[in-house]
């Protein structure tokens, strides 16, 4: 399973391509694909957003779903989705739960 992630051009905020067609600031609503066609479609969306100067550093990343929540496989992506592990007051993890949902 894969999802599409990038950093927003204007402020560098980590974002994920969501099922509603927007770039979301949290991983929760990211659109998951699980076949080559889906990956190709997300890649094309990422390339278009990059070319359109919306986002930079666009990547498809591997994820799994645990108890309904998207979980990246690599620690790097877990940290991107949450924030620095030494500063729980910073990054996505510091947001009010409602906003993260």
């Amino acid at each position: 399973m894969k999802i599409l992630t990038a950093n927003r051009l204007t402020d560098g905020e980590a974002v994920w391509f969501a099922a509603d067609g927007t770039w979301a600031e949290t991983i929760a609503g990211a659109e998951i694909v699980s076949d080559k066609d889906g990956e190709a479609r997300l890649e094309a969306i990422g390339k278009a957003a990059y070319d359109n100067n919306e986002v930079v550093d666009v990547n498809l990343i591997d994820v799994t779903v645990v108890a309904g929540a998207i979980q990246p496989l690599r620690l790097r992506e877990v940290i991107r989705a949450a924030g620095p592990t030494n500063r729980l007051d910073l990054g996505k993890q510091a947001r009010p739960v409602d906003a993260a949902a």
């Binding site: 950093n7 051009l9 204007t10 402020d11 560098g12 905020e13 980590a14 990059y50 359109n52 100067n53 930079v56 550093d57 496989l73 690599r74 620690l75 790097r76 940290i79 991107r80 924030g83 620095p84 592990t85 030494n86 500063r87 910073l90 990054g91």
Partner: protein, 556 residues
């Protein structure tokens, strides 16, 4: 300290205007990321995991209170209330919006600071001994020469597109506190028999994936030849350094592959053609730069001895701080103070906006307006009257900056690692925090004595792990963090690269492994006066391997 002249002001202002325009064009979509990336890197702007990162130059680690206050202001206004001091004596902000960077650079320019050449394949911020101008063991202040190199290397047309980045460090004392032998060029300022100033010149040192100790190619280069000789080295490197492979592009590889004697011969030949030309430094120019670094007028403060004696009797913790964090000044009434940015369990090198302002206030009130950033990621007040030490200490306590751990095991160098860095493979900060907490007892740390522990979250070695007495390198193995331990490294005048001790440790094992290493040292040392590094050099790795791995060898 150095003050910008009209040229410097105009130059930095013009650069801010140029980059502001580039940012605007990027945000408007007029230039692509591929076009913009090299431009932003030239101005110290990286993209990290969570946001952009801005790396600001602190030339040879010297700041005044106004500048440090501005860094605090930037932390508060544009970032998240803190900054990270780095092993190149610079500062990084981890969360700036690209759209705010022009405003940040304008604020920096107003206090004679910038982010130029903090990235890219150019000559980076020149570093120097953080006790420069203050240390009792110094022959001369190395900073005027670092400043001459800074002026010469800033947007140098010939050396702005080198095969790879290029780092220069200068020290003015026999005891090397600037790690010069781990640099592309290391300069040791010294005097010859006639009392003239000059440099021992080392080239080809470096860390990263191929650690090398610098080789001395000249024992005494007269000071007037600083730029001609440096130019000769850079020309040879620029011509022959490899551009086909990023990992083999540093001068250390050229020196290693060509042989130091042959490189020295080529440098000498190039220098012969240059040495009496326009790069020869006129005495008047050297003197003019030196005048910017004239030591402050230090009034006699003989009451310091008595004041320190009484304060020590009054407070055990002040006495410990005095023993650990106060360094001998060339003037016996004064001292240099290390302000630890390594509170127990804290991220090494991080300082909050209010801490920066508190240190700026202290520098203004008690420290002749001078602050230094050390490559060990601490702040220094280089000139404090001993009579004022107690007042300084009390203020530091209020701001949680009085940890008395300079040169002890919790005075850890650590790169940002995977908590921030896009290049990292493993976390560094969390490992530093765990080790710091494990060894929280100051009594225990002082019993262990001098121990330099350095952690990098990837092979690029920003955390200097190769030259840690104990070095820790984080790698990614099968998707998990793994920490490799090296022992016996050092970055002083007897620089050595640490040796890998054996298989790596998982994140939950690494602190135990470090404790085992420390306990083994305590068992093998002759007595408390034999430091970790000396004991390791005497007994070698065997007892440490035995302690770390013997049980699993038997089990197998």
């Amino acid at each position: 300290m150095y003050r910008y002249d009209e040229f410097d002001h105009d130059f930095v202002k013009a650069r801010v205007a140029e980059f502001s325009d580039q940012v605007e064009r990027r945000l408007a979509g007029e230039i692509t990321e591929d076009q913009f990336r090299p431009l932003r890197l030239m101005n110290g702007v990286y993209l990290q995991l969570h946001a952009y990162m801005l790396r600001i130059a602190v030339p040879y680690g010297t700041l005044n209170s106004k500048q440090l206050r501005m860094l605090g202001h930037i932390a508060r206004k544009y970032d998240k209330g803190y900054g990270h001091f780095t092993t190149r004596q610079n500062i990084q902000f981890n969360w700036p919006a690209l759209s705010d960077i022009p405003a940040i650079l304008a604020d920096l320019a107003s206090v004679e600071m910038h982010a130029i050449q903090t990235s890219g394949n150019c000559i980076r911020n020149v570093t120097a001994d953080h006790f420069a101008g203050a240390a009792a063991d110094e022959v001369a202040d190395p900073r005027p020469y670092a400043e001459i190199l800074r002026q010469w290397s800033s947007v140098h047309p010939e050396f702005s597109y080198l095969p790879r980045k290029f780092k220069i460090a200068v020290t003015g004392a026999e005891r090397d506190r600037a790690a010069i032998q781990t640099h592309d060029i290391g300069l040791h300022l010294k005097k010859n028999d006639k009392g003239e100033l000059g440099f021992a010149v080392y080239i080809g040192g470096g860390q990263g994936r191929t650690p090398m100790v610098g080789k001395k190619i000249r024992d005494f280069l007269p000071e007037e030849h600083l730029l001609s000789y440096t130019t000769a080295i850079l020309r040879v490197y620029n011509l022959y350094g490899r551009r086909d492979n990023k990992y083999k592009a540093r001068i250390k590889i050229l020196v290693h592959e060509t042989g130091v004697d042959e490189i020295a011969r080529q440098v000498e030949a190039e220098w012969q053609a240059l040495k009496d030309g326009e790069l020869k430094l006129p005495d008047a120019d050297v003197a003019a730069i030196q005048s910017y670094f004239a030591p402050p007028a230090l009034a006699a403060r003989p009451e310091g001895d008595e004041a320190v004696k009484l304060a020590r009797l009054d407070s055990k913790s002040f006495g410990e701080w005095l023993d650990q964090n106060v360094f001998t000044h060339r003037n016996p009434d004064y001292a240099a103070v290390t302000i630890s940015l390594k509170g127990i369990g804290e991220a090494p090198g991080d300082a909050s906006d209010s801490q920066m302002e508190a240190v700026a206030d202290l520098a203004e009130k008690y420290g002749f307006d001078e602050i230094r950033v050390s490559h060990e990621q601490n702040l220094i007040l280089p000139h404090v009257a001993r009579a004022d030490l107690r007042a300084v200490y009390d203020t530091l306590v209020e701001h949680e900056l009085a940890t008395a751990n300079s040169n002890l095991i919790s005075d850890i160098i650590a790169c940002p690692g995977l908590d921030y860095c896009a290049l990292a493979n493993a976390r560094s900060i969390s490992v530093a925090q765990d080790i710091s907490r494990r060894f929280a007892s100051l009594e225990r740390q002082r019993d262990i004595g001098e121990l330099k522990l350095k952690i990098s979250g990837c092979i690029n070695a920003c955390g200097h792990h190769h030259v840690g007495h104990i070095g820790i390198l984080g790698v990614e193995k099968k998707g998990a963090e793994l920490y490799q331990v090296t022992l016996g490294g050092s970055a002083d005048e007897l620089t050595s690269v640490g040796e890998i001790i054996g298989r790596g440790f998982g994140p939950e094992e690494i602190t135990d492994a470090i404790e085992t290493i420390v306990d083994t040292y305590l068992q093998v040392r002759r007595d408390a006066s034999e430091k970790f590094l000396d004991a390791y050099r005497r007994v070698g790795p065997a007892p440490f391997k035995e302690a770390l791995y013997a049980s699993e060898a038997k089990a197998a």
